[in-house]
């Protein structure tokens, strides 16, 4: 029961939305380029994603429900979904529409991926999982048009759940560990030729890399390092402590500064008071304790602390 209470506290702690906003912008810009190259590079969307019946190469065996809802896999629907994804990725970057935009963009990307047979990669899965985290978490609390409309400023003190950031770290740990454990095939064991061969294989590089033959021992060492870096990536997850008490960066983020920020709303300040109140066990000694900033205390508590003056006593 105590463990569950701790988990609930961990999963529902809040922080300011800077990390998620920066993640949203970075992911949005990536997807703007992703969809842009699909639409503007000649001969990519058509023929790779258009149906065989209309001169393309794609045989959508199990198209996404959006494609089915639009009336099936046609050239027009392929372009429609790609254009929708492009517009939505711009909206995501600007922070318009919050979670709804992230969800629609995710669905449109999944719809595009469901058309051709296996011309995606790990980066597509990573982008999809990233969008999923933007659906779960709130990426528009700061640096977004939504924030500008809501508060009149590009930043706000609105707090968001921190679990999306924790899940992001978990996702990275899972990706690296799983891909490290999956590297059981040829090349990854003695004499460790994986990186050397990868730099010579036509699908992976864009130039003639025969000169890597002179770096044989260095590439063998790099192969071992890459493999064990991925397998032991869980160490990074263990190092990442989601508890804000142990992370000075998160603490700085999670406490409002009375000097720079405006006064928090009554509801927010009540939450801050509740969260910033030290537990009985960790309460500092009277000698080292400092009174909280004035902005953290409510008017009623200030009234209680005010010393009695002759005028107030009657």
């Amino acid at each position: 029961m105590r463990a569950w209470t701790r988990w609930v506290e961990l999963a529902t702690r809040k922080e300011q939305g800077t990390s998620m906003a920066l993640f949203r912008i970075a992911l949005g810009l990536t997807l703007v380029v992703w969809t842009g190259t699909l639409l503007w590079s000649g001969d990519v969307l058509d023929p790779l994603y258009t149906p065989v019946s209309e001169g393309g190469f794609a045989r959508a065996r199990n198209p996404h429900p959006i494609i089915q809802w639009l009336g099936g896999h046609t050239r027009a629907n392929t372009f429609l979904v790609a254009w929708a994804a492009s517009i939505l990725s711009v909206a995501l970057t600007l922070g318009i529409g919050g979670r709804v935009t992230a969800f629609l963009l995710l669905q449109s990307l999944l719809a595009i991926h469901s058309l051709p047979h296996d011309i995606g990669g790990g980066y597509d899965r990573l982008l999809g999982n990233g969008l999923n985290l933007l659906v779960l978490g709130n990426g528009t609390a700061r640096y977004s048009v939504d924030c500008r409309i809501r508060t009149g400023a590009w930043t706000s003190d609105r707090l968001i759940y921190a679990f999306a950031r924790d899940l992001m770290v978990l996702q990275l740990v899972l990706m690296y560990t799983a891909t490290g454990l999956a590297k059981q095939g040829v090349g990854w064991h003695s004499p460790f030729y994986a990186l050397y061969r990868a730099m010579l294989k036509v699908p992976y590089v864009r130039g003639e890399f025969a000169w890597v033959a002179h770096l044989g021992p260095l590439l063998a060492l790099s192969t071992v390092i890459a493999l064990w870096w991925e397998i032991t990536f869980g160490v990074v997850g263990a190092w990442y402590r989601p508890s804000r008490r142990r992370s000075p960066l998160s603490r700085r983020r999670s406490r409002p500064s009375s000097r720079k920020r405006s006064r928090p709303s009554r509801r927010t300040s009540r939450r801050w008071r509740r969260r910033s109140r030290p537990s009985r066990r960790s309460r500092p000694s009277p000698r080292t304790s400092r009174s909280p900033p004035r902005s953290w205390t409510s008017p009623s508590s200030r009234r209680r602390r005010r010393p009695r003056t002759p005028s107030s006593s009657g």
């Binding site: 590079s41 978990l170 010579l200 699908p203």
Partner: protein, 180 residues
């Protein structure tokens, strides 16, 4: 603690457990394994099938098999046109000449070309050849035929390659000639 917090904590726990299980299920093992490994294989296959709809509609796929094996074989696509009875290369992967390189170097095309180099997906080769030949004839009006070839190479040991200076794409894999 309000009920909402418990619900959020339950949902976060469920999501984390789901992606951990899917990632674990994605780690490949020998398909013919027996005993404990075989049971794990059965479990992960059933898990993958159970969550397939969720992976398809929520984008939570956890199949991370990047660079799982790096074999010593590679191959390249070569396209040539016949002009006055002589074959002239117009596109050779990773080398000059570079007819429509902007298209073929796009990362989606490189993924697609992976299928073309292999022997398994002949269907895609049959779709690709007429499409590309139509464009080759349009860009080279004097050409009477277009030849598509896949040539393979074996990556030697580093010391051997250092002596040779370049890979030798001398293993013939497949060829199709389209006449105008």
């Amino acid at each position: 603690m309000p009920l909402r917090d418990h619900l959020i904590a339950t949902a976060v726990l469920g999501y984390a457990a789901m992606i951990i299980l899917l990632a674990a299920a994605g780690v490949p093992l020998d398909k013919d394994a027996t005993g404990l490994k075989g049971e794990w294989n059965d479990f992960r296959f059933s898990l993958r099938d159970t969550f397939r709809p969720a992976q398809r509609t929520l984008g939570i796929s956890q199949r991370w098999k990047m660079f799982r094996k790096v074999s010593r074989n590679t191959g390249r696509i070569e396209i040539a046109v016949q002009i006055d009875g002589r074959w002239e290369d117009i596109f050779v992967e990773r080398q000059e000449p570079d007819w429509r390189r902007g298209t073929f170097e796009h990362h989606r095309w490189r993924e697609f070309a992976n299928h073309l180099r292999g022997e398994k997906k002949r269907d895609q080769w049959k779709l690709y050849v007429p499409w590309a030949s139509e464009r080759a004839f349009a860009d080279h009006p004097e050409a009477t035929a277009v030849r598509f070839r896949v040539m393979g190479a074996r990556i030697p040991k580093p010391e051997t390659l250092a002596d040779r200076g370049a890979l030798r794409f001398d293993a013939f894999r497949k060829e199709t000639i389209v006449e105008r």
